[in-house]
Symmetry: C3
Subunit: 246 residues, 3 copies
Amino acid sequence: MIHNLALVSSKAKIGKNVKIGAFTTVHDNVIIGDNCVIEGYCEIGVSNHLSKGKRLVIGDGAYIRSHSIFYEASCFGEGLVTRHRVTVREHTEAGKNLQIGTLSDIQGHCKIGDYVRFHSNVHIGQKSIVGNYVWIFPYVVLTNDPHPPSETLLGVTVEDYAVIATMSVILPGAVVGNECLIGAHSLVKGKTEPDMVYAGSPAQKICSTSKISLHDGSGSAYPWRRHFHRGYPADLVSQWVSDDLR
Amino acid sequence: MIHNLALVSSKAKIGKNVKIGAFTTVHDNVIIGDNCVIEGYCEIGVSNHLSKGKRLVIGDGAYIRSHSIFYEASCFGEGLVTRHRVTVREHTEAGKNLQIGTLSDIQGHCKIGDYVRFHSNVHIGQKSIVGNYVWIFPYVVLTNDPHPPSETLLGVTVEDYAVIATMSVILPGAVVGNECLIGAHSLVKGKTEPDMVYAGSPAQKICSTSKISLHDGSGSAYPWRRHFHRGYPADLVSQWVSDDLR
Amino acid sequence: MIHNLALVSSKAKIGKNVKIGAFTTVHDNVIIGDNCVIEGYCEIGVSNHLSKGKRLVIGDGAYIRSHSIFYEASCFGEGLVTRHRVTVREHTEAGKNLQIGTLSDIQGHCKIGDYVRFHSNVHIGQKSIVGNYVWIFPYVVLTNDPHPPSETLLGVTVEDYAVIATMSVILPGAVVGNECLIGAHSLVKGKTEPDMVYAGSPAQKICSTSKISLHDGSGSAYPWRRHFHRGYPADLVSQWVSDDLR
């Protein structure tokens, strides 16, 4: 299952039933779980002076698409899925079932919860804290430096179920509250109230998310877990459906 | 003409006078026309559960630069040109002479006309419909989900000769009218009138495109086909010149 | 020091103590200085009809990370550092100690001073002129076409010590003045006054940079060289410290 044109270190710990594609490099200090696929042209376990010899751990059932780069000293729960050309730096701690879109750039030194989805070309700055069930759409940047350049890093916090739409910038130290929706092309500063829509540059509070209707008129579009269930496990969906959601 | 470090499936149908670079992978279910160049580090014909075994067809005279990825189940007319690291997903149907800039990400399930130009780092969401002679500049995103995340996809339509400048976001279901110009850093919603300039976030109608003068003062800059002819065939340019354009 | 799966032209001039990674291609018309590292999956010295056989020159001590692409006919002073997947086109002339972040796309035909830092995913359009000690943050685009598409290219000028924050667009022909700070998500037109903060879309003058305090309250955050010294040589830092800065 390991292509003869892959370069896999004999020191790497590779689980059962792992497939590794052509022209992929797996470095020494890596643990890959069972039933993983790592496509071609990837580099897994790059070291630098910040990784300090800490292992890269990729949980069971990962699917890493081609041309992706992962540094040492990060840890991913089971069910990681990436698209192409993702870059994930050292000291990224992520829960289970993380999805990372094409070209996304996770700068490391950050924490990511369970069932988080990053779409294409998302930039997660260092010191970011991302909760569970969060959605971040293309070309969103989580920043961290309040007066660039400096040695001060104030990471962004994104709370559970929050959604950040395309090409928004979240300023250093901002907190995107539980179940918030940030509209496309917004600039967010400070702490947003939960369950609210914010939009604009600078972003302002627009209304409660419950005021946004589904396109077919069949009720409110938020909380999104009322109607969107693709890719989540059945027990979680059951819980969502039985929750007393608006 | 096929580098000895390229991995080319014997099932792929490769035309005459085709050059394939080192470390490129060509999968089974691919038809490549005559006189094509595919540089190194590319993956051509990636399959997934959505491509359903439909072929990737690349027309004559294509030039695909290095590190690019094309999925199965897409079709390109003659004269495709890409720069580096483009990603093109399944079910992309494109006309002739498409140009795709470095890092652009075409999400598939979309239709693209003839002589379309995507500059660097353009994101074409699923269900987009792009007309003929369209120009889309860097970091533009065509979105599709009116209340993310959801199962509803409302693609963007971009009509013939329209121009979308750098870092604009086009919201789900929007229609950018014929020969419109969308200014840089704009957020476009709804349907724009033809031949008009829109700009801002949210974008507003500014004026007729005919009011924008060429930098050297030699007349109106729009319709752009009055003065910009590089890369178009002579018969098309003759027709443009003979058209009764402002 | 040259991996046996690297493809290095015998015509390329490679300095002493140079390391070249697996799956990297070095073309003919390249001069690489001493003590350089070029990681895997790179292409160094790509030619095209615009490079006209002019050499690519990479100064001593460069560190080019994986998946990067450099064209012929560019020149870099000593101490170049890139992260992953950078693309640098022909006729880029850069001073010493340039740093280029992951995914950045330098379109060539541009001049870049000494000690310049481009963070991730920066787009430098053709005809840009970037001074010394400049900082450009993620997803910033320097544009050049005043009425796209056209044959007119009016490059952006960024003067010494200027800082452009995340996801700003600098319009064609604009001049970002000495020691200016452009806020995140801004759209800049025309010439900005030195030492001023500009922000918004379109950007407006907000205040003197000296009014921005460090997060810990220990004085003004600008000029940034008062307090930020990481990565600069000791003699330069000494000079900065002894300068009569606010």
